[in-house]
Amino acid sequence: EDQVTQSPEALRLQEGESSSLNCSYTVSGLRGLFWYRQDPGKGPEFLFTLYSAGEEKEKERLKATLTKKESFLHITAPKPEDSATYLCAVRNSGSRLTFGEGTQLTVNP
């Protein structure tokens, strides 16, 4: 059974204070690791897909990296508008995404 574990559960940062979120996974036949952002009461918003160890993707202040067992979402010089829950998900040979519990990020001004 595919499993995704995210840490920490919650993270408070000051504006400009860089940090990383972790996603550990076990999956049979990885067909993609996905990062989403979720604001309260809204649907997940797609950020990145990573397929193989060593791959990196960047978008504004966010950079996602992948190893064979985990992925990191690095946030550089965050702003208050980056406050959200960040979700990690994996896809195996089927079609379903298996999500982690998420990391709730709060960036204080």
């Binding site: 009461g41 649907g43 918003e45 797609f46 079609s95 379903r96 999500f99 519990e101």
Partner: protein, 113 residues
Amino acid sequence: EPEVTQTPSHQVTQMGQEVILRCVPISNHLYFYWYRQILGQKVEFLVSFYNNEISEKSEIFDDQFSVERPDGSNFTLKIRSTKLEDSAMYFCASNKQGHNEQFFGPGTRLTVL
């Protein structure tokens, strides 16, 4: 930019009643999904749908649930006889052929009383 849309945004129903949740996937997408998220819990897969049939379903998706694509644009989730534990946010998602990224709608909050 095209988006997945869902209606209603909030549905309140009595236990035992039938509900239909509606989704309009992105127009050139061919794969459709339903997920749910119970308050404070993780997003969980329910079912995937391609070429007018279910391609995968989870253990949550029992005989009380069904999906349908009644026309060229809508994709629906029906819950036949709702239970209290069906209360959750229900998300529809879709993706293009050859692409793995699933794009999610804003969700329908279902409250079963």
